[in-house]
Symmetry: C2
Subunit: 207 residues, 2 copies
Amino acid sequence: MRILILGATGGLGQALARQLQGQGELLLVGRRPQVLRDLAQELGGSSLRGDLSDELEASALLEQAGPVDLLFHAVGVAGRAPARETGRQLLEAMLSAHFLSAANVLKYARFGQGARAVFFGAYPAYVRVPGFGAYAAAKAALEAYLEVARKELRKDGVRLILVRLPAVATPLWTPLGGPPRGALAPEEAARKVLEAVLGDAGDEVAL
Amino acid sequence: MRILILGATGGLGQALARQLQGQGELLLVGRRPQVLRDLAQELGGSSLRGDLSDELEASALLEQAGPVDLLFHAVGVAGRAPARETGRQLLEAMLSAHFLSAANVLKYARFGQGARAVFFGAYPAYVRVPGFGAYAAAKAALEAYLEVARKELRKDGVRLILVRLPAVATPLWTPLGGPPRGALAPEEAARKVLEAVLGDAGDEVAL
C-alpha cells in the first residue's frame, strides 16, 4: 500500500504518519523541510516538497508521488478576523490552504485501484462563529467540492472520505493563542481517523 | 431609502432594479458600461463602476455609494468542469464572483440604520452535481461566510439575508448552453425576492 500524507509536518499529519509506520510505503509532504526530512528518516519513508496550493507545483509533486492507495490531506491553517476587517490576505490564506490545495490534489493525484483519499472538514456549529468567517468559508468550499468530486470519481473506484474533526491541539492554533478548550490530542485524533478510514466507515465521518 | 444593486446589468439585477423603480434612490453597479448607463437613465438612478472582487476597487466604490438601506449582491457567473479538469482559472473565477466580491461588500459597505443586505445562495441538491464543483464550492463559501457575518453584524442593526433561488433564466447560463430546464424567468424571480425581502421573511429565504 502506498500512503501519501500531505501536511505531514503538521500536528495531525505527523501523528498519522507515525501511526501508519509499517503499514505501507510512506510518502510525506510538508512545509517544514528539516522536520520533514527527519520524520521521513525516522519512519523509513520518503519526502517530497512543493506548495500544494500552486497548481504547477502540486501537479509536479503528485506526478512524482505516483499512484497512491491511501491519501491524507491534512493541510490547514487557522486565522481569525471579523468580516468588517477581513481582506484579501486572510481570505486567500484560508482558501489556498484548505480548498485550493485540495482541488489541486483532486485534479492531479494518481490513484491506485480502490484508493481512498481523506480530507478534513469542520463542524459548522464549531466554526460558524464570530471571527471565523474566512476559516468556515474555506472549509465549506472544501466540503461542497468534495461532495461533487465524490460523485464524479466513484466510477473510477476512488473513495473520497470527509472526516469532520473537532479542534485538534496542534500548532495550527498557535497564531490564535493556542487551541480551543476541549481540543483533541493529535495522537488521539489520528487514532480515531485511522480506525474510521481503515475500517468500514462511510464517505462522511464525524469524530 | 437608498438602494444599491450590485450586478445590475445581469438578468436578476436588472429585473430587481426595474421593480424597485420609484421605491427609493437607485444606485446601480454592473459590468456592462453601456447597459448600465442606459438602465440608470431609464430608471432615474445613478451608476457606479468597479470590480467588486478587487478589494481596492470595491472599497472605493462602496465609499462612493455611501450609506445604503437595501443592498442586493446579484453578482455571479456560471462555469462547469469535472474536478479532474478544474484548474486555478475556473476556481478563481467562481470564487471571485460569488464569494470574494461578497466578502468585500461585507467589509466595506456602509449601512444605514436597520439596513438589509441580500445575497444569493444555491440549493445544495441542485448544484452539488457532477461538473459543478467549483460553482457549488463558491456558493458554499458565500453561505458559510454570511452565516458568520450575520452574527457579527446583528449588533449593528444590519440584517444579512440569504436567498436561495432555483436557477434563473439569465445570460449567466449562456456559456453553458442556456439555462437548466425549469429555470425561473428573471422577472418572476425578482418579484419573489422582493416580496420576501421587503416583507417579513427571515434571514434565510428559500424560493
